[in-house]
């Protein structure tokens, strides 16, 4: 049975891009970042990624089978959710964390809402928020890059939040380390260069558009530059962009088709909201990093944004 439920403004002409093609392309564009993550944090990161993907696919198949829906486990969307979730986990988590997280992402955040295209929240991020609320202890232990004995350390953002350091250079990191990913953090979020390469591929293929990333990063960078803890106009823009999970969140999760607005204007509003919220959470919130929560909050608003921005129908005259 073909699913005839489309959510889109007119015109409804369909291109050649199909869901599986898009999903697998996003999936492959993420692989370099994962490879670097495995190199930096060791083989355990690989097992976490694989477990997460396998659980996501199995859960999708199981629930679609139980609900007697069409089984679409090979369209890449479940695999992508699993991959993104794993990228959002520290490499020190016990192996049951990715399994439970993937199950939650697919079963509750996606299939309980009706499956692909009907979920309100990004499944991978919803699962991350769930894991964070359940087991904060495991979710905030980050191992140091290239450490054999799995030494753990707080991330740079946590150290700054706690007031232990005021600039990342104090723990002997430089911009190049941040750019290549040689820092503590989640498996897939540290390798900024690899993530950017993947993002450029997706932009080149026009799978994602620049509206959300630019407005997201622009608003966050501007706010962190102006309202720095050291004083006005003293913020470190590059640091605010390359730390935490920003690049991963901006290019690969905020741009999710299902959970972001449909129009270009809507996407810009969505990105601006994400940027402002991320800044507010990083600066005033209880957590050191706010990318995932701000995207989740704006997910809830994206259908409202679509209602606000009405597209002019083709040929429609302005009524004043």
């Amino acid at each position: 049975m073909k699913d005839n439920f489309f959510v889109s403004f007119s015109p409804h002409i369909l291109g050649k891009k199909s869901t599986p093609k898009l999903m697998w392309r996003v999936f492959f564009s993420l692989i370099p970042a994962g490879l670097l993550g495995v190199i930096i944090f060791g083989l355990k990161a690989l097992w976490i990624i694989l477990l997460s993907i396998i659980t996501a696919i199995l859960t999708e198949g199981l629930i679609q089978g139980l609900a007697k829906r069409r089984i679409t486990i090979l369209d890449g969307s479940a695999a992508l959710t699993g991959l993104l979730l794993a990228y959002n986990l520290p490499s020190t988590v016990p192996f049951w964390i990715p399994v439970i997280g993937s199950f939650f992402a697919i079963a509750i955040a996606k299939q309980a809402f009706g499956g692909l295209g009907r979920n309100i929240f990004n499944p991978a991020l919803a699962a991350r928020a769930f894991l964070m609320a359940c087991w904060p202890f495991y979710m905030t232990r980050f191992s140091l890059p290239f450490s054999v004995d799995a030494k753990t350390q707080a991330t740079v953002l946590t150290l700054i939040k706690d007031g232990k350091i005021s600039h990342f250079s104090e723990i002997s990191l430089n911009y190049l380390d941040l750019f290549l990913g040689f820092r503590g953090g989640c498996i897939g979020e540290v390798a900024v260069l690899a993530l950017l390469l993947g993002a450029i591929y997706l932009l080149y293929q026009r799978i994602i558009l620049l509206h959300i990333p630019l407005s997201f990063m622009g608003s966050l960078a501007t706010l962190s530059w102006i309202f720095d803890k050291q004083g006005f106009f003293k913020g470190d823009i590059l640091f605010s962009l390359f730390s935490g999970g920003l690049i991963l969140g901006v290019f690969f999760m905020a741009t999710d088709y299902v959970t972001s607005p449909l129009t270009k204007k809507g996407k810009i509003i969505f990105g601006l909201g994400c940027g402002v919220l991320t800044f507010v959470i990083r600066r005033f919130g209880g957590y050191p990093e706010g990318v995932s929560y701000s995207i989740l909050i704006m997910n809830a608003f994206s259908s409202l944004i679509d209602k606000l921005i009405r597209v002019k129908r083709y040929g429609e005259k302005k009524t004043t």
């Binding site: 509750i108 309980a112 769930f130 609320a133 359940c134 087991w135």
Partner: protein, 198 residues
């Protein structure tokens, strides 16, 4: 008017018109105190007691209470029984009372009790009203116990305070408010699914 069967009036509160899962009333206490089975039982018994007696009194006074000021009259009756319950619980079950805290006095404004007084007890004979109150109260207790069972077992790894399994890492979120809403949503979804299949 058709004659109402007593047994049916009693049973409807438990399942077909369950106040929490079907009528969706009294969610505030249902979500707030369902962190442990013990609290849920205490709350359920307190609400059932108040519901039973407020229905009894309001039903017997239904021809005396003037239409225009019926709500204040209901509240006077309900508040009296809530005060009795509150003092009884403080005296005999101080631990449960402390665990429930503000939610015992708040039974006064519990929508289930007001709802049954307005929709049922003020229009029906005493015997049926008592059965209705008892059924609704037990239905509320049942719903609370089910929700709290899920939350306590998953969120704390215990049941009625007893540790279930060693080495289990509890899902802290289930004890938090978001866990309450998650549990309620999933349970209601499940109930709707079962209903649809019939």
């Amino acid at each position: 008017m058709e004659r109402k069967r007593p047994l049916k009036e009693f049973l409807k509160g438990l399942f077909r018109e369950n106040p929490v899962f079907v009528i969706i009333l009294g969610l505030c206490p249902a979500l707030a105190v369902s962190t442990s089975v013990e609290n849920a039982l205490g709350m359920g018994v307190a609400v059932t007691f108040v519901l039973l007696f407020s229905n009894l009194i309001i039903s017997s006074l239904r021809r005396v209470i003037p239409e225009k000021i019926r709500i204040p009259c209901f509240i006077v009756v309900i508040a009296s029984f809530v005060t009795i319950t509150d003092l009884l619980m403080k005296g005999f079950f101080p631990l449960v009372s402390r665990g429930l805290g503000i939610f015992v006095p708040l039974i006064v404004v519990n929508c289930i009790i007001m709802g049954r007084a307005e929709a049922y007890a003020s229009k029906n004979p005493i015997f049926l009203s008592v059965l209705d109150g008892l059924g609704m109260g037990l239905g509320f207790t049942l719903a609370l116990v089910v929700i709290s069972m899920v939350r306590e077992v998953l969120g704390a790894g215990t049941f009625l305070g007893f540790l279930l399994a060693k080495g289990f890492r509890p899902l802290t979120v289930m004890i938090l408010p978001s866990g309450a809403l998650l549990t309620l949503g999933l349970l209601m979804g499940g109930i709707n699914l079962i209903k649809k299949k019939r």
